[in-house]
Symmetry: C2
Subunit: 454 residues, 2 copies
């Protein structure tokens, strides 16, 4: 039995060193959207893994930034993979930052920087945990892998190429996902999946150019065609009307329903933040939670036609466009959903409406009973001293299905963020204390998962 | 009995002089939208009327460009008013003009200039007709008035102020409207009215800012609210569904139906120009003509919500907007129509949708039997040697109702344009021959209307 307390003590004694290692990463901008600092950051991550004794390699992704891969064998015949990303969001708008977004300044018990929560703080905590383990215990308790991509913030566009080229490298028994941490009430959260997405653009054309609206008696109006088509997709009761749309929706299990019951009540916080009088259909409580986590959506994300500036222009538009964002739940297939949508349009006489599948992502869901789910939950409670809140899925998105479900790998989130970390926004931050606890949490996860059954 | 031939001969002999007078007007830019040359143009028009012996005045319109008014008494106890405008459209894009838009160059039997068709050619032709009449006959055959405004091309925004302030000046027995001429088959056209308009902007709000689309399970989407509301206004059969919308639509009379039968068949020209396979509901022939001239419309002129650029943005919009352009026919009232629309939205649960009446104009229609309609038609045939095509209404718009219907004044169009005059576009032009014929046409109208009964 490994004495984790000795490792924890080492972490505490070397906290400054581990914070400095994180700050070194934070000082290096790595903005995929702008192509800034990506080569330097990939090299830094690789060197840090090299220093831990990992066999590392940067894998070309055929058109995108490379995946930094590392692996090291350990005692148990079990493999845990960490999925992370070395790219971050742009720091704009810069004038809304209290300190330089690339400084990693420590202030008020927090570390402030672009990417500190999403997700350099997690990369550094994982490296620190391995370092501490190796310093105190020696051999790793199980085989470890890192898949650290460089395009998470721009949609993981080339990750599938890496996966296709290196199926063998992706094999593992479980995965720790890239994000995680505390909620706004400071309780640790675990997410066990992501919703999928089917993002479609609809386009309609009429006359070859905008026409004088007096001709609206005879020339078809693409804006009307679009409105009529859209109104067949979902009614005011919010029920999606595409035949077959709900067929593959998996009902929540008893355990998942129980998990929903345990979720904190954040309704009023959201109502206040959004400044709306109530939710769709007046839903609250369990009905709302079920809808949030176990029901798909069909959202108009964009609408455009004709004249949209101030005042009056008497125009009959020549074009109309809508963007439709459908969030999918297990086991909906985005390509099947797109085909159902297309068939529905055709069956309703809207063959004139062009459609394009702009983005497709599969929903993912790890069982609440999966060993990694139990290990992350139990160790959260041990290390953070608080029972975690378990979300059967997350409203966020990412390549979870591709990296995990597709390989039969269970996954869970664990991280050093919190409810006010402001990922993607100015003044992104984490608590110094959570960073240290997060290191210990990874130590405990490695130890416990190595011993787990199944 | 006046010998019109003597007047016509004088016109022919002084054609160069009358062309020069038109060119003088064409050389003076007068762009209301840009405030260019308006004072100079108003002064020129006033001086030209002074030279004809009219009592003239520039009337302030409380915020807009002045109305140039003129009147002169004649033999018969009858008054004919000419409605014109001294402003023109901007000349942009300049590089698409073959000659300087302000030169009035004569080339290929045409006069080329911004405003020559719309409507300085008509102003000059009316002045020339009066000049020739006075030179040959002496006393005018009837009382004449000119109401020449300076804001027609920018929506006649302040004309109502002039009308309200000077009701007495607006009284007349008939009106010759500002536009007119030949169609694309060179046949003279007469229009006997305009459609009205009710232009409404609809706005919907959701959360206080755009939200992540994952929250679409709970936060209402204003784009959906708008689509659902719009889909209750008109169905795919193009029938407008607002209760009461059609109640005041006046059926075409037998004479109007006959006039429609006589309209030229321009369907294929429009299909080719618009590059569409067919018209709404596959209409053709009389059904289409009836819809074009005797039915109102409800057109989406603009739609905007959320993300409308390239690719995928997973956003739940906070706002949505639509612009609705309703063309009205006699005797629909734009303010009543707006009230019906508002009531319909409320009755269907869309009280959350804000509406604003952006523009309102009444439909106008002069009877085919009105003396001025008959006079213009008969004299067209006499002077141009071709039977005119009579349109019971026009698809264009303007302050016809305000100046005519509101005072019980019958009106008809007569002018010097043609089917290729390119009003509002580069290389605007009229035929020199039509200008001379147009002068004679006004001579004949004055003579004949002075003698007409009723």
């Amino acid at each position: 039995m490994t004495d984790l307390n000795a490792v924890y003590t080492y972490v505490d004694e070397h906290a400054e060193e581990y914070i400095a290692q994180l700050q070194k990463m934070l000082n290096q901008p790595s903005i995929a959207a702008q192509g800034v600092g990506m080569t330097e950051m990939a090299a830094m991550v690789q060197q840090d893994m090299d220093a831990l004794g990992f066999e590392t390699e940067q894998y070309d992704t055929r058109g995108g930034f490379p995946v930094v891969y590392g692996e090291k064998a350990g005692k148990a015949d079990k493999t845990l993979v960490f999925y992370d990303h070395y790219d971050v969001q742009p720091a704009d708008p810069l004038d809304l930052w209290t300190s330089d977004p690339w400084s990693g300044e420590i202030r008020d018990g927090k570390i402030w920087a672009r990417g500190v929560a999403d997700n350099k703080g997690n990369i550094a905590a994982r490296f620190a945990a391995i370092d501490a383990w190796q310093k105190i215990v020696g051999e790793l308790p199980l085989n470890l892998k890192f898949i650290i991509e460089g395009e998470e913030e721009i949609g993981s566009m080339h990750l599938q190429n890496f996966i296709d080229d290196h199926n063998d490298l992706c094999q593992a028994d479980a995965c720790i996902w890239e994000f995680g941490g505390r909620d706004i009430d400071d309780r640790p959260q675990i997410h066990l999946g992501l919703k999928g997405i089917c993002y479609v653009e609809l386009r309609v054309s009429g006359a070859r150019r905008d026409w004088h609206s007096s001709q609206a008696t005879s020339i078809p109006n693409p804006a009307w065609r679009l409105v009529w088509a859209l109104s067949t997709l979902k009614g005011p009761d919010d029920r999606i009307l595409i035949p077959g749309f709900y067929d593959k929706v998996k009902a929540a299990t008893e355990a998942e329903l129980q998990a929903l019951e345990n979720l904190p009540d954040t309704e009023q916080i959201l109502l206040d933040d959004a400044q709306i009088p109530g939710f769709i259909n007046g839903l609250t409580g369990m009905e709302l939670k079920l809808k949030d986590y176990f029901e798909p959506t069909c959202t108009i994300s964009g609408l455009l036609s004709g004249y949209t500036e101030k005042g009056q222009k008497t125009v009959l538009p020549s074009k109309a466009m809508a963007k439709i964002d459908m969030r999918l739940v297990a086991d909906q297939d985005p390509h099947e959903i797109y085909a159902l949508l297309r068939k529905h349009l055709n069956d309703n006489g809207f063959t004139d409406i062009e459609s394009e599948l702009v983005g497709a992502g599969y929903p993912s869901r790890t069982s609440l009973d999966a060993p990694i789910a139990r290990v992350v939950a139990e160790t959260y409670e041990e290390v953070f001293g608080q029972e975690p809140v378990i979300y059967p899925t997350s409203s966020g998105s990412g390549p979870w299905y591709q990296l995990c479900d597709a390989f039969g790998i269970d996954a869970a989130t664990a991280g050093v963020g919190n409810g006010y970390s402001q990922a993607h926004a100015p003044d992104e931050n984490i608590n110094v204390e959570d960073y240290i606890l997060g290191i210990k949490h990874i130590v405990a996860i490695m130890d416990r998962f190595a011993q787990s059954e199944g």
